[in-house]
């Protein structure tokens, strides 16, 4: 197994004890832990360079601006993009809302369709619902195959010329299923729609090059890839970013401001109104430095292995149902399951007593839950710092849950 065990010492939180046990953190799909280098970069920024960026003629302002723009370059390069195609946002959610308002409010009209899949996170559904209210556009859905991958066989029925936006996830945060990126990007192109890829669970876990993706927009969050909270990114094809209006107005995003109208700064600044998350951008840059140093191929291989091991070990447990593909080439490392009639929240409580952090609930994917006809799942999700012994501990605790609930 790709052994990244030595990296664990870079993550201070992994020394913590929870309920008398060493922390076993299996909730990286919610947010990841941070290495020292990311925390140090932000701390150093505040202790040595803190100033507002742009427009500053003094030394600190210049240094802060260089660090901020330097991070933009790093994050852009990480996905194979140019810096001026990369907008810093608060996270994936804000990035998708920016597209919904900035592109949708100005391009959608009554009767237009927004094609999504039933496995989307609320972040890739609710913005489209909001914008539908204002424009009269309408959501249409792709459903799932038996293995819970997206069923694209119904595309010809739903893919009409009215489809203006195709928005889909690169990887489900519930089932781990990879999205059919090529098929849907091509589908969007074929009807002149724009394609929006929710990369919140994709970019952290697999090498990504926007040149290969074929989509118009990509959104992702730093906190799910070793970076801080409060920042994420929106990448867009230059021509798409040009045709998009800014959602937020304020300082730094303008060219001129007159009493009744304004003109905008060039992309990406036109989308970054006000004081940006500066320290957070710098932490984001340090996070991609860390990921680059480990290597995204190595990380992806490690996750594939630990996912395969997890699927294997979980399958041993009686009454346990896994929701998601079994084929590790079709999925990432978020593994959702049910255990007999032990409610997911009870599972989470029982595991927590052994120091194991898993998530329980609808994972911000209620339409998917309804489709699967379940109210909730328990979810274990992994990242580069997880090791197989942690999976063993998970399995052992799940047997304990069986026993507590008298399952035999």
């Amino acid at each position: 197994m790709t052994d990244l065990r030595a990296l664990r010492s870079d993550f201070p939180i992994l020394d913590r004890e929870i309920n008398g046990h060493p922390l076993i953190y299996l909730d990286s799909a919610a947010t990841t832990q941070k290495p020292d280098s990311v925390l140090d970069a932000m701390d150093e920024y505040y202790r040595l360079y803190n100033a507002n960026v742009h427009r500053g003629a003094h030394t600190l302002a210049t240094e802060a601006t260089e660090l901020y723009e330097g991070s933009r370059s790093k994050v852009a390069r990480f996905i194979g993009a140019e810096p001026d195609q990369l907008v810093f946002t608060r996270g994936t959610t804000t990035a998708i809302n920016y597209i919904a308002y900035g592109w949708g409010l100005n391009h959608l009209k009554e009767g237009d369709k927004i094609l999504v899949t039933i496995m989307e996170h609320h972040a890739n559904l609710v913005p489209w619902q909001l914008i539908s209210r204002y424009t009269g556009a309408e959501l249409v859905y792709l459903e799932l195959n038996d293995d819970l991958t997206v069923d694209t066989s119904t595309l010809d029925q739903v893919l009409t010329d009215d489809v203006a936006i195709v928005a889909f996830s690169g990887m489900s945060n519930v089932t781990g299923a990879l999205g059919p990126i090529d098929v849907l990007a091509e589908a969007a192109r074929s009807v002149g729609a724009i394609s929006v890829l929710d990369g919140a669970q994709l970019v952290p876990h697999t090498p990504v090059d926007v040149a290969d993706l074929g989509v118009d927009f990509l959104a992702f969050s730093a906190h799910k890839m070793l970076g801080p909270t409060g920042i994420g990114a929106l990448w867009g094809k230059p021509e798409r970013l040009e045709e998009m209006e800014p959602t937020e107005g304020g300082g730094e995003m303008i060219n001129t401001v007159e009493r009744n109208e304004s003109t905008w700064a060039p992309v990406p600044h036109k989308f970054e109104a006000g004081t940006p998350p500066i320290a957070e951008a710098i932490g984001f840059g340090a996070a991609v430095d860390y990921l680059d140093a480990v290597g995204m191929d190595t990380i992806a291989a490690h996750e594939r292995e630990i996912t395969a091991y997890t699927l294997d070990r979980l399958s041993e447990i009686p009454d346990l149902t896994i929701y998601g593909p079994r084929d590790v080439t079709l999925r990432g490392s978020a593994v959702s399951f049910e255990l007999g009639d032990v409610h997911p929240h009870d599972i989470a409580t029982i595991l927590d007593q052994d120091g194991i952090a898993v998530r329980a609930g609808h994972h911000c994917a209620r339409p998917l839950m309804k489709y699967l006809k379940i109210p909730a799942t328990a979810r274990a999700s992994f990242y580069l710092y997880n090791v197989p012994e942690e999976v063993d501990a998970l399995v052992e605790s799940l047997y304990k849950a069986r026993k507590l609930f008298g399952l035999t």
């Binding site: 009639d341 032990v342 409610h343 997911p344 929240h345 009870d346 409580t349 029982i350 007593q353 329980a360 609930g361 609808h362 109210p375 909730a376 304990k400 507590l404 609930f405 008298g406």
Partner: protein
């Protein structure tokens, strides 16, 4: 007993698996709904109240063992009680579930123990995030009772 054994006592699992008074009431009962948006638990309650006394009750719930067991135990106790008695019961339940320094271990036979099966829920106090699960049914009842006085 470990904390988990105290939490998942047999009586709780029994109520979870065999919830009492499951269903809907025909006619035009008082109806109240409660939910814990943070975990998705839901509780629907139907009541008939005549002359200030609960004459019939039914519930439908969705959620974890604690929220469902707490609701089921509650259903066991409410028919035949007056609105005032129920308000008192809600109060007693709240006191039992409140975390205070030096909590004594569960003692079902302590003098003044009036809550019966419900006493088994004291184990939840060691799991503060789960207290809101136990509270859900009772908050819903409280809301239903408010409708009787309006």
């Amino acid at each position: 007993m470990t904390g988990l054994d105290e939490l998942y006592r047999e009586v709780i699992l029994d109520h979870y698996r065999n919830p009492r008074r499951q269903g809907k009431l025909q006619g035009d009962p008082i109806h109240a709904e409660g939910s814990n948006p943070s975990c998705g638990d839901e509780f629907f309650l139907d009541l008939f109240v005549e002359d200030n006394v609960v004459t019939d009750a039914a519930m439908r719930g969705l959620g974890c063992s604690i929220s469902q067991a707490s609701g089921s135990m509650m259903m066991d106790m409410i028919v035949g009680k007056s609105v005032e008695e129920l308000r008192e019961l809600i109060q007693k339940f709240k006191v039992m579930m409140s975390i205070s320094e030096g909590d004594s271990p569960i003692d079902e036979d302590r003098p003044g123990s009036v809550l019966g099966d419900l006493e088994a829920l004291q184990g939840v106090r060691k799991f503060p995030v789960r207290i809101k699960c136990a509270d859900l049914a009772w908050a819903t009842l409280s809301e239903a009772l408010d409708q009787t006085t309006s």
